[in-house]
């Protein structure tokens, strides 16, 4: 039906190169015992090269969508994500993660998910990240702990992540608008003609079907107006039981956390009384 806008064979080597560059850069950047500035520079360069290769492969995979804004926010998200995982100091990693969240929120907003973009900032950056920072303040020793300066199997992990990324990119690149030959499940998007022109009333039966389908599609389209209201309607309409269950889950998690903490404290108190000379246990707090 639709001529595929890309040539799978041409983007193959580009993706492969991107994958290799990702592996090398991650391996160099991840914390290990010997950290030299040259290694870090080289890793950064390779990472940027990998990113460029991904972008180029994406370009060949067809268009850039809402080009500029999307590119900027996605770059922010990706670079911050990489920085999160290679930072040696966990506090820096948390800060970089906050920036990643900002980028992700931007991507979500570009995709038209108004509520979710804001919810990401509020819940993640506002609540979860702050909790992490609290724990870090409680538990992180001064300076860089030895376990922050080493990684666990950096090469194999980088290889696994990069290969996964390559396979995913390949699969993404081979998405097509035609329904899959095996399954025959039409996407709702194919209900409208592919050329983009409004439906012409050729037959009597069709014009009546098209506006109805169009109205139906518009009603559920996230991009239409009253986004949040309709999202709420959807949630509390079709997914009421799940919402209630999520509420119960939150309550249970809250109670459980308090229970575990209080029992743990009681046990610790008992241990402290039982073994006074073992002072290193409670000295860390």
């Amino acid at each position: 039906m639709t001529p595929l806008p890309f040539d799978p064979s041409a983007s193959g080597p580009l993706l492969a190169g991107a994958v290799v560059a990702t592996v090398a850069s991650l391996w160099l950047l991840l914390p290990n015992g010997r950290d030299t500035r040259s290694a870090r520079w080289l890793g950064t360069l390779l990472g940027l090269a990998a990113l460029a290769a991904f972008i180029l492969a994406g370009r060949r995979l067809g268009g850039l969508g809402e080009e500029a804004v999307f590119l900027i926010v996605s770059l922010v998200a990706v670079v911050s994500a990489a920085a999160t995982i290679v930072s040696r100091s966990p506090v820096y990693a948390a800060i970089w993660f906050a920036l990643t969240l900002a980028g992700v929120a931007g991507v979500l907003l570009v995709l038209g998910a108004q509520f979710l973009g804001v919810a990401t900032i509020v819940v993640y950056a506002g609540a979860i990240l702050v909790m992490f920072l609290f724990v870090l303040m409680l538990a992180q020793p001064a300076g860089l702990a030895p376990y922050d300066r080493v990684s666990n199997e950096p090469f194999l992990s980088a290889l696994a992540g990069a290969v996964l990324l390559g396979v995913l990119s390949l699969s993404i690149g081979r998405l097509s608008a035609a329904p899959a030959a095996c399954c025959g499940v039409p996407s709702r998007a194919t209900a409208t003609p592919t050329t983009g022109t409004p439906p012409s009333s050729t037959v009597d039966g069709e014009p009546t079907a098209a506006p109805v389908a169009d109205a139906l599609a518009t009603a559920t389209d996230p991009l239409a107006e009253n986004h949040v209201a309709r999202l709420g309607g959807e949630l509390f309409g079709r997914h009421l039981v799940a919402v209630e269950a999520a509420g119960v889950l939150l309550l249970v998690a809250l109670i459980g956390a308090i229970a575990v903490v209080s029992r743990g404290e009681a046990a610790l108190a008992g241990e402290a009384i039982a073994s006074r000379p073992a002072a290193d246990r409670s000295s860390a707090r």
Binding site: G58, G65, F97, V104, V135, A139, L144, D221
Partner: protein, 150 residues
């Protein structure tokens, strides 16, 4: 909705989600600090959220949005409970090191111990010096009020 134009958008968004997911995966497998591990897990969830919303936009329905909301909820619960356990682990071993817990190993395998790491170029801590009693201690404006390394 213009499927011809939204397919590239979908693909790009999915690529971003894939990158976030992969980076998060590498972070979990690699970093030894428990908090950074959880940060990476949250990053994986972010990637998933982006992918779900992209699909939702492509198909033009609410399914992905709803699922992302629930993912958010569960992530919050998970973070709370996980941090409780992190604190419990910390109180037992005194550090936030995932390699501190090796009891699952085989009896014949020895404990994995870190190699000696070269010293880092940190600023040696400067401890305050006590002035003799009765003398007002000299104030140093250049002395930073907060510690420089975290």
């Amino acid at each position: 909705m213009n499927t011809m134009q939204s397919l590239p958008l979908l693909q790009n968004a999915l690529t971003v989600g894939a990158i976030l997911f992969s980076l998060g995966l590498v972070g979990i497998l690699t970093r030894r600090n428990l908090i950074v591990m959880f940060l990476a897990a949250e990053m994986m969830l972010q990637g998933i959220s982006v992918s779900l919303v992209a699909w939702s936009r492509y198909h033009g329905d609410w399914g992905g949005h709803v699922l992302v909301i629930f993912v958010l909820t569960v992530a919050a619960c998970e973070a709370a409970v996980a941090l409780v356990f992190v604190l419990q682990a910390f109180s037992r071993t005194g550090r936030l090191d995932s390699a501190a817990w090796q009891s699952l190993r085989e009896a014949t395998v020895g404990r994995t111990v870190d190699h000696e790491l070269p010293s880092i170029d940190t600023v040696p801590p400067r401890f305050p010096t006590l002035t003799p009693a009765g003398i007002l201690p000299a104030a140093d404006e250049n002395e930073p009020l907060q510690r420089e390394h975290v």
